[in-house]
Amino acid sequence: MIEFRGVSKTYPGSLHPVVNDLSFEILDGEICVLVGPSGCGKTTSMRMINRLIEPSEGEILIDGEPNTAMSGTKLRRHIGYAIQQIGLFPHRTIADNIATVPQLLDWDKIRIERRVDELLQLVGLDPAQYRGRYPAELSGGQQQRVGVARAMAADPPIMLMDEPFGAVDPITRNRLQDEFLRIQEEINKTIVFVTHDIDEAIKMGDKLAILKEGGVLAQYDTPEKILAAPNSEFVSSFVGADRVLKRLSLLRVSDMELDSTNGDGDDLPRISERTNLKDALSELIGAGAERGVVVSNGDGARGTLSIETIRRLSHQAEAEQRYE
């Protein structure tokens, strides 16, 4: 668990803090996304966790211990870090780049080689083809994957990822995000993930920490709660006017209570239960139908879903919303 306790940072020579009295907890195995407009202190907050930056006030606890309990160098060897600008070492092969921390930790050669190949496979790069290459021989997206693999190399329980998919086109980014979520299901790390893209934040985060200008924590909660009930004008406008639809995209048809089929399903559109509610709504509207038949993988009808049900769900959430 990572715990921010009243953490502030004012850079020398500046009057205003860029991170202001942050207090929140990141639970083990969760992806916590720090999100907010450019310059709101996301990178600064993240770098205080591994002490590349020291806070001016407050402290950060890792598993209950202040992160100042060990030397910064030692601390950083146990926290994976993928920096915003990738920063691969140009003079080292991909394998040696990935092996950086294991080498610092004196792993034996065979173990390192095995780990490198395993990680390359994990991020979707063929080890035989890529381990001997140099960073300059890789595309931006491939370099970014190596950056992520390098951060995971020594199997650290905590990973810091600063806009790790920033340098790639939207399609590749989408694929990398999916791959990463799949990997996270296997490895279950505690991850602090920085982005300024709210859609990426909603997709990746178990929790979102929305920061605003001056490094103030505007809201900290699950994406569902934040979309359903933004606590201020700022959060509401930051998550966007389409937040109701964004929220629907987080829910799957299989999460809904379905109506019974009543045996009249033959002429209704069919919706897979794995579809998210936003796409299901789109399909229903597109088919000009009020209801659709929800089918599971094996084509068995599970029940029906109506536009009215989706509308009621969204409206309820809206009614709960209160600005403080």
């Binding site: 950083r76 870090y81 990738i86 003079h91 092969t93 950086t100 300059a136």
Partner: protein, 217 residues
């Protein structure tokens, strides 16, 4: 031609060649030992590296002969004063290239290295020096060639070296001796240039060659 070859067989040729090489090698080694630590001390600070680089540039602008002429009244005549003068010549190119090379390493690469838990010493040894190596070696090469060429002038303050032969040729009005001496200096300088060029390639990490290929394409 024959008479030039005969010059190479003179007993004093070999002796002066050895002195010439001694002067050059020792001056270069001292130059490296002085310039590298200074570069390592100053490169982190913008102000101090600017001071070092500008001092180096002024040093390079002073003609070799002028440095010899400055050293003579202060230190006198002989091998040691010549060595001092040549060392002064050797330092600037190494100092300039080493501080520039270290400063040019992409700060994001250094940041990534620190972020992964490399100590300051490891960042320097594993990351900055290897990446800056080609630039540093280019400085050492420039310096070496300059020292080998300038060592010819050491004869004017009694330092010996192949310059002795050239002066001797003038005094006796023997063209062969003048040419033999000059030729030997030229060959020595070319060997130095080529030799250090090879060293520079050997010390350039392969990954950096890839980068430069990419950029020039």
């Amino acid at each position: 031609m024959d008479s030039i070859l005969k010059v190479f067989q003179r007993p004093d040729f070999l002796a002066q060649l050895v002195v010439h090489i001694e002067l050059s090698v020792i001056a270069l080694l001292i130059g490296i030992t002085v310039a590298m630590p200074v570069a390592l001390l100053v490169y982190r600070s913008r102000l101090w590296s600017a001071v070092a680089i500008n001092t180096g540039n002024i040093g390079r602008a002073v003609p070799s002969l002028a440095i010899l002429a400055l050293v003579f009244p202060l230190l006198g005549f002989g091998f040691a004063p010549s060595l001092v003068a040549l060392t002064l010549l050797a330092i600037p190119p190494i100092l300039i290239n080493a501080s520039t090379g270290l400063r040019q390493v992409n700060p994001q690469i250094i940041d990534a290295a620190r972020g992964m838990g490399l100590s300051n010493g490891q960042v320097l040894g594993h990351i900055q020096l290897p990446i800056a190596a080609p630039v540093i070696f280019a400085g050492i090469r420039t310096s070496a060639v300059q020292v080998v060429a300038s060592a010819t002038l050491a004869t004017f303050i009694g330092g010996g070296g192949l310059g002795e032969l050239i002066v001797l040729g003038f005094q006796r009005n023997e063209l062969a001796i003048q040419l033999g001496g000059s030729l030997a200096v030229a060959i020595l300088a070319i060997i130095t240039e080529v030799g250090f060029g090879l060293l520079e390639r050997a010390f350039t990490p392969k990954g950096l060659l890839v980068t430069s290929n990419h950029r020039s394409k």
